[in-house]
Symmetry: C2
Subunit: 375 residues, 2 copies
């Protein structure tokens, strides 16, 4: 069978084209989350999160081992992070919301890394002071998601370097330039800080083991573009006497524009958590949909939810009721629900969400000290 | 004029063969310390240190600028360091003794880096915990040299990483793999920590400027094999808004064996500060000399001080009186002074020095807190 050549790119720095997730699972060598695993999570948590039900978290490494150990009474730790290069948008919140679900259901600690060094070294900002400042601004969004302050530790790399650097050089010593080049595509022009950086992102995988003084496996909920980091970390883990980190991978929330993921570099493609609710509404109202050219046509042939960014928004973040989501899909496809109405409803939900989030984000300013760890 | 091809290697990790220092000055692009500069130092300090008089410190970068600024009332800072891969030997003490002279004469602060990360990353030790422990053992030798506790700051990289890492990544961002490869000879098999490491060694060049909140030039007294680090640091300094570090370079103290520098990897070639005085004496007594095969022959033709490791020891460390050193040279060349006698005298001086140093080293244990800075 001849297929059209698929052109898409997924690296920690670039997500481009229409992503074929099945191909990613194969290329990256991860495993799909199957029915058996879902049933197991359901048994353990009481209820499956809609992101699992809908396959928004779709792939993993050793999530089954995490559950095996958990069932034997061995607690794991959660680890995820954020590259503070600008304001947080709704796409970033998606894995954090899922991470909170895991924290709530499994009672686990969360180690949250703010990679101010990464965003400086890879050139997203000219000044380290900027990315460091953004780390703490972005931390407000993390806190606003509702993590448990007693079990959540947020740290910016440069302010936690006394703890992280010694772990990172142990990883680095076991990682050759060849390997880093093969995995991340470094070039002769790459700066030597960016080449070292993967070791800094690997370090928190072993942090819980070190802090607790006993081996503690981490589970990393994050978008699949971060997987290359865990690949090199998993290679060195046994050599350092630590358990391999496990990962659970999400898809990318689409942007409001046509194709591609939500990206902070295209401001109209995404809704920032700090957007005024009215501005966010306006962005939703001009979003790319799967609607027909005219109302008449749409009434007759229906819309195409599978390519519609508005429908995806409901699916990823704004409709956790599967039945209602299905009704919306059918109403769209039948031509009963027009884009204007559907967008308006989403705009209202987005505005409501933002108001609440911004309130929590404001309150988070007073809680920062409870969450942030520094050397 | 045809010359025999000169085979010697000087890199931060390897010093091999008979070093041609004039060629090094040319190859590295440094400047020789000339009579004019020496006169200037003499005027400023009252008395020239024998290491300057004898050309043991023979080359520099911007030492003249350091003096220009000093004469205008602008204080500089001293920076040097040690790679803690084992016990300190007398060869290591040489630049430190000179550094103390500079501190005394110019009243400058000294920033002393213990590169526990380097010695781990470049494989001299298998465990970071070992090099870190050695850092503080070696610090006792530094303190024993007699630095001013109010003006001397000793730090181990991994315990000061919160301060150093943010500076290092600013250097690293401006240093490509190409450059690091050209300067240090990194290969595809090099680990990514070693590739980043030059930025950690560069960081203290800017530390005084950062800690004081005003630009403060550093002068680095060190053996010339460390110069490649300062070369890359000097390239990035203006881009970061800091003054270029200045350096003053020493020759290598020869080993007690024939040829090559004193090296901890050939234990009999060097005297460790922790050697029992009696053991040290024994090492001196079996040292390579420039003596003849028989007493008769030596009485007749004299010895060769220029190739004699014992004579070099007097010149580098154990005879600061130029006149007496000259008398010794002549007595050797004339055949009046035989190797046995000359070695015995050196052995006594070495033993006396070690006893005193070990006493101060013991006292230093109580002073460690006054010297060490950590995050």
């Amino acid at each position: 069978m001849v297929k059209t050549m698929e052109k898409f790119v997924v690296t920690p720095w670039e997500v481009k084209g229409e992503v074929n997730y099945d191909k990613l699972v194969k290329d990256f060598g991860t495993k799909k989350i199957d029915e058996k695993l879902l049933k197991r999570v359901e048994r353990l948590t009481g209820k499956l999160h809609y992101m699992l039900r809908r396959g928004l978290f779709f792939s993993h490494r050793d999530f089954d081992i995490i559950l095996n150990e958990y069932e034997k009474g061995q607690q794991f730790a959660l680890y995820t992070g954020r590259g503070p290069s600008g304001q947080v948008h709704l796409g970033h919140l998606m894995p954090w919301i899922f991470t909170k679900y895991l924290q709530d259901k499994f009672g686990t600690e969360l180690y949250f890394q703010m990679t101010d060094d990464e965003k400086f070294l890879f050139g997203q900002k000219e000044k380290l002071e900027e990315t460091n400042k953004l780390a703490y601004e972005n931390a407000l969004d993390v806190i606003a998601v509702g993590f448990d302050p007693k079990k959540t530790f947020i740290f910016a790399d440069t302010d936690y370097a006394k703890t992280l650097y010694p772990i990172a050089i142990k990883v680095a010593r076991l990682t050759t330039f060849s390997t880093a080049k093969a995995v991340f595509g470094f070039k002769n022009e790459s700066n030597i800080g960016s080449i070292f950086y993967p070791a800094m992102q690997a370090a928190p995988c072993f942090l819980p083991s070190i802090l607790k003084g006993r081996n503690t496996r981490v589970l990393i909920p994050a978008a699949i573009d971060q997987d290359p980091y865990w690949r090199i970390t998993r290679d060195v883990a046994p050599k350092l006497g630590f358990p391999k980190p496990a990962a659970i991978h999400s898809k990318f929330i689409p942007g409001l524009a046509e194709g591609g993921k939500m990206s902070a570099s295209i401001p109209d493609s995404c809704i920032f958590t700090t957007d005024k609710p009215e501005d966010a509404k306006r962005k939703v109202m001009k979003a790319f949909t799967g609607g027909a050219a005219t109302v008449e046509e749409q009434r007759k042939h229906g819309g195409k939810p599978e390519i519609c960014s508005v429908f995806q928004y409901y699916a990823f973040l704004f409709e956790d009721d599967d039945k209602k989501l299905e009704e919306r899909r059918n109403a769209c496809k039948s031509g009963a629900l027009l884009c204007g109405e559907c967008k308006k409803e989403l705009a209202e939900r987005v505005a409501k969400f933002l108001k609440e989030h911004q309130k929590k984000r404001e309150q988070a300013k007073k809680q920062l000290d409870k969450f942030v760890v520094k050397d």
